[in-house]
Structure formats: structure tokens, C-alpha cells
Amino acid sequence: MCQECATTWDGINLCAPCLARRGRTRHAARSWPGLLLMSAAAAGLLWLGARLMVWAGALAASLL
């Protein structure tokens, strides 16, 4: 395959079928349960982070 026929993706020269296969894999990688789980975890961590900030801050201030 010549360089003119290839498309560079992440530093690799790929032909059209390989490029299409990569695109499909990327599209399939979007898993909704995973996204939902991650969103719920991020929301929980946001709340936990704020709580821990207060706890650590108050503890550090009491040591001053």
C-alpha cells in the first residue's frame, strides 16, 4: 500500500477497510451501563470529595 492511499491514525498508516474497522470498534466501545456507572460514581465522588475536604481541613486546623 502506498502512503498516498493510507490515512494516519494514532501514528499508524491504515488502509480504508482497517480504518473503517477501527471506527466501528470505537463506536462499539461506548457502553451505556459503563457511562451510567461512571456518571454515578463521579457524582458520588464529587460529594465525597467535598466532605473529605472539610474533614481534612478541620483536622489540620485543629493541629495548628
Binding site: 466501545a29 461506548r30 461512571m38 460514581a41 463521579a42 466532605r51 473529605l52 478541620a58 486546623a61 495548628l64
Partner: protein, 269 residues
Amino acid sequence: MRAALSVGEILDESADCVRLVAAPWLGVLWLTSLPLRMAQAHFAARLIELGREAQGYGDHLSRLALVSAATLLLSLWGRAVFANACRQALQGALRGAAVLRLRPTGLLSYAYVALLIEAVFYATCLSAVAVPVLALAAGLAAATLPFSGRAGLLRPLATLSGSAEQARPLVALLLSFGAGFLLAGVNLLALSQAGLWLARGVPGLELARWSGLLSPRYPRFLCVLLAGAWLAVEPWWLASLVVYVHKLRARATGEDLRLWFERLREAEA
């Protein structure tokens, strides 16, 4: 066997990268980081002012912490955008407003990991041992995760650990930027004192209050000074980690060898 990544090269390229993306993406990074750093500085200053009585002000501190958490989300977006700009500049394809177009999955996985690191930071910050490692992990997360399409609770963490492949350059970068942070703080302090000294020459200007406010013994000023030092260093820190990840990826794909071969051919021609 190929040699370890050179820290000098990474720092040089990151300086070029920041110069390329400075207008407007450096401004975006600073504007989105400023509220978080100011909220954190205010929180720390309030804690110092309250001292041992801080435990009796739980509600007040919780409100401040929630403000800080909200500004953190804005800051994460700004960091992801800046990292994307650096990444596009390194690929030689900086495309204006396209820098803002980040994949929702990547952005969410970055937010999830960054919030996890933040929680671990607050849980372990009193020991101070884990702080440098967590700072490095937070920077690497900004340089890697907004561009990965992997959703799940463990996949983003696996991607992040994969990017920490070479410990030596990362430790060297951490030490360099730790020193840079201290130097930036000292410079900002010197700048504020120089400004105060110059202002003394203005007739009729009452500076007694400002002398107290800009004194390093005033906790609130010290907190703002540290926040300012971090703001000054952050763009180069992020850019250097993006360069590191870019170089690591180029090695994995063989892109670095192809470029090296092209340079050899150009030299021969």
C-alpha cells in the same frame, strides 16, 4: 533497545507547545482554573483563621467545599481543552474551535478519575507522602483520559496506569515542576513587595494597610500566593505531560522511528 525519554526534550517541546497554543487556550485554562484556586485559597485561609474552632463551623466549611467542588468541574473542562490544544499542536493540526470538541465519554472518564484522585488527596493529604504521586496522576489523567473512549469504573484507571510506563522522566518532571512552583511563589512574592516599594514613592498614598495585606505573615496572602504560583506553573506542567504521553505513544506505534528515518533521508538529500 531505545533509550528512556529525555526530560530536556520534553521540557523544550512543552515550552514550544505552550507558545503555540497560548492564544487563546492558555487564557481558557487560566480563566477556568482561577475560580477553583481562589476558592481553595479562601477555604484554606478560613481554616487558618478559625484554627481549633474550625470543627464548630461545619456548615460554613461545607458550603465553601461545595463551591470549591463546583469550580473543580469547570477547571477540569479547562484542563481537558488545554491538553487537547497541546495534543493537536503536537500533531501539527491545531484547528481553532475544534479544540473545544471533546468526546463526552473521554470527558466523563477524566472527570471520574480526577474526582477520585481529589478524594484520595483529601483523605491522605495530612500524611503529605502521597501528594506528589497524586499531583502526577492528576496531570497524567488530564493528558490521557479526555481522548480515550473507554467507559467503565476500571478502564480509565487502566489507561492512566498504562501512561505511567516510564518512571524516570515522570519523577524528573515532578522534581522540576516542584522547584518551578517554589520559584514562581518566590517571584510573585518579590513582585508584590517590589510593587509595594515602588508605591511608597507616590505622595499621599497610605500604604500601612497594604503592607499588612501583602505580608507573607498574613495567611490569606500566603494562600493566594500559592494559588498564583500554581496557576503560573500549571500550563507548562500540563503541556509537558501531554508531550510525554505523545512521545510514549509515538514509540508504541513506531512513529518516532519513521520520523527519525525521514530526518536521516532529509539529511542525506
